[in-house]
Symmetry: C2
Subunit: 338 residues, 2 copies
């Protein structure tokens, strides 16, 4: 079946295509009688506008890209869900691209490459993007970054206060009387900004109580998966200075992996070791023990990012690019005795 075009509708209704276009787009200047004739023709022919043609003419695609490291990491799929829903309200369709944390894929997706040319704008949760990458960006559309601002880049970004949140998580453990608190998930290289901010929060909480940090309790992990947390915890249990009595993991997946190791080794939670995570994914709420965690407001993050992107796309001027802060809370559950 050859698709119906504006022209077919126009012929059937006995009007010009201009008039059909007016009716379809809901512009007011059409007489009631003409409108009805057109609407009937549209219904009879089952006409739907060709979005490609419309957008070619309008100079937009109606597509925005959401770029995340891994779609099947719960934090990102929960976030993606919220972004897709929010963008829909504004009439935009979201294409989700996963980079597997490969720097090349991330760069490609913000540049005016074959794929980027398809999108009006991009929301990116970067893992390995440097300031230089951003400076080199040559694509036309707006870009909103999720997570910590990459220093001095001229782009909007949406984040929670990672230092304060990590500090709150650590202080919670300190207030419980724990004295050897490990930190799992540090990434002490140039693209590990978010992890480094959490480490800073961890240090600040200690400093606020006049305590010094045992650096050997800060453990780096390559990724933020359950397996990384499980491996890191195994190492910590064999720590020469004895195992820690608490662990602050930089995301819930790490924490769930760590818990698995603890339980396997017969360590009691929270009695012997208390555990705190970060992200508040559903898995942590049903784990045994349930997981104490920092809960970023993902709905708010999605909303701030989409609203900002769309207002730039629609030519409204939301002002200079800058930081947008989303709230978070500490959810106390069984893994710390809650």
């Amino acid at each position: 079946m050859a698709p119906t075009r504006l022209r077919d509708v126009a012929e059937r209704a006995g009007v010009s295509i201009r008039t059909v276009s007016n009716v379809v787009n809901g512009y007011a200047q059409v007489s009631d009688e003409t409108r009805q004739r057109v609407e009937q023709a549209v219904a009879e022919l089952g006409y739907h506008p060709n979005l490609l043609a419309r957008n070619l003419k309008r100079g937009r695609t109606g597509l925005i890209a959401l770029v995340v490291p891994e779609l099947d990491v719960p934090y990102f799929s929960e976030l993606a869900r919220a972004v897709v829903a929010k963008a829909r309200l504004h009439g935009y369709t979201v294409v989700i691209d996963q980079t597997d944390g490969e720097p090349d894929r991330e760069r490609e997706l913000i540049m005016r490459g074959a794929s980027a040319a398809l999108f009006d704008g991009v929301i990116l949760s970067p893992l390995a993007l440097s300031q230089a990458d951003l400076a080199r960006r040559d694509a036309a559309g707006p870009l909103v970054l999720l997570g910590e601002r990459i220093a001095a880049s001229p782009y909007d970004h949406v984040a929670i206060d990672n230092v304060a949140a990590a500090s709150a998580a650590t202080e919670h453990l300190l207030a419980l009387g724990r004295t050897r608190i490990a930190a799992v998930g540090d990434q002490p290289y140039d693209t590990g900004e978010t992890a480094q901010l959490r480490t800073r929060g961890y240090r600040e909480a200690h400093a606020a109580r006049g305590l010094r940090v045992d650096d050997s309790l800060i453990v780096s992990t390559h990724k933020f998966h359950r397996s990384d947390g499980a491996a890191a915890m195994a190492d910590l249990l064999d720590h020469p200075g004895g195992p820690p009595d608490a662990v602050f993991c930089y995301n819930d997946l790490l924490a769930l992996g760590a818990i698995r190791t603890l339980l396997t080794r017969g360590v009691r939670i929270p009695d012997d070791v208390a555990v705190v995570g970060f992200d508040d994914i559903e898995a942590g709420r049903y784990n045994t023990p349930t997981l104490t965690t920092i809960s970023p407001d993902k709905t708010m993050i999605a909303q701030l990012a989409v609203d900002r992107l769309v207002s730039r796309l629609d030519g409204r001027s939301p002002g200079e690019p800058g930081e947008l802060w989303a709230p978070y809370s500490l959810e106390i559950r069984e893994s710390t005795g809650g």
Copy 2:
């Protein structure tokens, strides 16, 4: 910066736009010298083709839709990841749409509606689609269904053998000597086909051993979330005939919810109650106890679906629409003593 067009490149290189198009698309009939001039102009201007215009002309969009009930359900996000990756290899971009299991959204996405008009083809994991819905479909592009075939519909579908898999899961529990095996996740209404097939497998496993099923041990759930599994398990523990000694849950999320309830109530797993799930999501591999489950080959499912869709899109004739079967396996873990 106004985008460069084919025309700009043609002017700079001193050739016609036809020639630039030939070079850009890699068609052979261009002299080496001309090609070089064009390539240099492309590089200097940073030209990238306008995909909208190209696809308008070619009569395709390059977009395929993946429609799932909920993006943040691990089975779907793991599947989505595989589909996105596979489609990329064929040059297609995937748009993921979530329906929240709303029948209207599912219907809209397979019909020639505003959104569907944007896609060359659709891969749909239906939850509430009826045969009538499919019969009414008027969109042009191919559709591949994930999961059980909706009776006699003229579409391709990719599935595992749910009856056999459910039977294998149940038989595993029977072989362990369990005698009161509950089934959690039945959906005895017209759109719950997959659930019903699993119930059939559950019954067949019993029948094969000459055992009769206690129908009161078959529990329906509205959704397949952890909370549904937790609630169902709570009910089963208060079963008038006494609690079951095993539970077969129709997905891992239900099983993880059920396990949470069991542990909260002090029931030992698998000693008192053994648990089997379905889907093999990562959460089950790190849970304590680790979860015995049916593991569908998700990579294969994604590959079969994408390959079939793309071969129809590209005009190859893969034959009559029909079933494509993906393999599965039973993964025995701690929740059944493995």
